[in-house]
């Protein structure tokens, strides 16, 4: 490689590095900040979206796979596609995401095996959450949670569940087939019954609810006297007093290991 091109190449790498202070960031960095950082964190450390600051990305092992994920999103997750990027921009963002993985990452410090036991026994998490096909359906399925959330986000969610209520409205959708925000409802029927639970689905004329015992209800709205929607509420308790700091580390380590499959 001629010297000039090599310099240009090195300059390019520098420009892509996330640590580079610059008053005029590389376009890829601006695209990342606008379209990716909201869920994956400004430095790819992860937030509601998984950390990208790791050497290997599970769903994007190859360059083509990473391109496809950025272009098309991941069906069934909160990851949207980016039809507003040109192919060149997708490639630039992919390079930038790879550069985030080259930064040093602090590994989760807990003991996953101990975490598994805490989740099963002391936490009683499976009363409401499904893990690998077993457990309740009041809250989200956690079987792939390690591939979807960052350690800091999981820890915060355990301490303050209402700061981490699932919500996909930030991802643009033409239509919502099934809402995925586990909205808590209190309804009373015209004949005087009261039901508390999570919304399963809703439209202009009807509403479907699952109560705390997992029973399903379906009402035409004109059968109901009142529908109260508890936005931002979660039936999940805080585990601040249940788990010690060290135990929280263990639980987070176990949750992070949950990446689908069995």
């Amino acid at each position: 490689m001629p010297t000039f091109e090599r310099l240009l190449f090195l300059w390019g790498l520098l420009a892509l590095a996330p640590q580079t202070p610059s008053s005029l960031p590389h376009p890829a960095e601006r695209h990342y900040a606008a379209s990716c950082a909201g869920c994956h964190g400004p430095q790819g450390e992860g937030a509601s979206g998984p950390s990208l600051a790791q050497a290997g990305l599970e769903r994007a092992a190859t360059e083509q796979a990473l391109f496809d994920v950025i272009r098309n999103g991941i069906v069934g997750t909160e990851m949207p596609g980016t039809r507003h990027f040109t192919d060149e921009e997708v490639r630039q963002v992919a390079d930038y995401v790879r550069s985030l993985g080259r930064a040093a990452v602090r590994a989760a410090s807990g003991n996953a095996a101990r975490g598994e036991e805490l989740v099963r026994a002391k936490g009683g998490c499976q009363k409401c959450h499904t893990l690998r096909g077993r457990g309740g359906s009041l809250g989200p399925d956690l079987t792939e949670i390690g591939a979807r959330r960052s350690p800091a986000y999981l820890r915060a969610a355990l301490l303050d569940p209402e700061a981490a209520v699932p919500d996909n409205f930030s991802t643009y959708r033409w239509v919502t087939v099934i809402p995925d925000n586990f909205l808590q409802l209190r309804v009373s029927t015209r004949d005087g019954r009261r039901i508390t639970g999570a919304r399963v689905n809703e439209d202009a004329f009807s509403i479907q609810i699952r109560d705390l015992d997992g029973r399903h209800y379906s009402f035409w709205k004109d059968e109901l006297a009142e529908i109260r929607k508890d936005w931002g509420k979660s039936p999940m308790p805080s585990f601040r007093k249940t788990f010690s700091d060290a135990e929280l580390d263990d639980v987070v380590a176990w949750l992070l290991s949950l990446r689908g499959g069995s």
Binding site: S35, F169, T171, D203, A204
Partner: protein, 517 residues
Amino acid sequence: MRRAILALTLAAPLAAQVSYERILRAASEPANWLTYSGGYAGHRHSRLAQITPANVARLKPVWTYQANNLNKFETSPLAIDGVLYISEPPSNAAALDGRTGRPLWFYRRSIPPEVRACCGQVNRGLAVLDDSLFLGTLDAHLVALDLKTGRVRWDTTVADYKLGYSITVAPLAVKDKILIGVSGGELGVRGLIDAYDAKTGRRLWRFWTVPGPGEAGNETWAGDSWKTGAAATWITGSFDPETNLIFWGTGNPGPDYDGDVRQGDNLYSDSLVALDADTGTLRWHFQFTPHDVHDWDSNQVPVLFDKFVATANRNGFYYVLERATGKFLAGREFGKQTWSKGLDDRGRPVVIPNTEPTAKGVMIYPGMHGATNWFSPAYNPNTGTFFVAVREEPTVFFKGPSKYSPGAFFFGGSIRGVRGLEPSGSIKALKAASGELEWQFLMHSPPWGGLLSTAGGLVFGGSAEGYFFALDSPSGRPLWRYPTGGAIFANPVTYVVNGKQHVSIASGHSLFAFAVE
């Protein structure tokens, strides 16, 4: 022999000619639905009154026809003497027997894989004139089909799809001409409205919605930005025979979210243009959103009544203009909006500072998809009521780099929904002369379906959750609903088959026809 004569008699209506005079008087033959909006005035209203608030509870599906493609099914059927003529995604067409829904012919067009359409490979319907149907295609052609057989009469290129042009709009037949617009507002095209000779497919005139150098309005674009100024024309316009004017809405300026590269008002984006029907000459224009940076296309069906043209715009305001001159007469907010303090006495929005997209994102109502969108409003001439499906959904708008490359997306930014904020919607009835609210019916999700008004006293609409429903027009009270099972991205129509009023709407990947049992 006797049977043969009977068959001929039954077949005769199939060969009927749909003359310009018939379309001109479409309101007086409500058994048929002869043009996109049911008539040149854009009312989507029918004089049919067999279905009423008293019997609508007995409205039942009589047939369902499944499309052969899984893109959104946005067709607005034409109904001519007992036969429905529809477009199907991506750019196909079919004739369906109105009694059974059975196809009578099918036109299939293969679309080059490199065609780019911003929002799905869709088509909104056909136009008819004499014994031909007209279809705009995703590869930006206009095709004339034999009404009886679906065979191609002519096929003409409107624009080059490699530059980002496509066609999804239903054409409009006026006199001896076929009018057509283009899509491509997210790909830096230069918008246009064309008129073609219905007999030959020869182009008769073209109106560029972005004026070139030396033309009035070109000075509203900084530098060469007019070249990629968009202002696409993807919803069918209206026609006023009295003034001989075509009214047609234009879309967002390009790039969508980055206004820095196109300083100025950006005429004639987000405007209503009034063109001479014979020559395509611009008589007047009215711009709803000067220098738009929120993708608020003004691609809505213009509604003509009295001496006015009215529209409920994607930007959240309802407008009444003088039809002959474009003079602003009245305006009023009809949907939630946070970008403007209101309209000044010339109808220009008083923009609130710091509402334009930024690198960090700015949340604005209405969102990118607007307070309403392309789906049709309806107007009841008996009561002077304007019905509109309203979306209440904010968007976070981001400004990003914009680099034009022919045939590639040219957004200049991006959008995102708002965490924790569930979008909603409604059907609203407005006093047409003022925009004042008469009633509203609350929807759950923001709607994507248009409305149909009938002299029977009903307003039909569709929801994103798949309900096709009827409201009582004076009160907005829901009277009937049918769960179709798919999201509705289409406009309803009504017509008569075998003496019975039918209503029809596309939903999911099917077309449904209903009648009272």
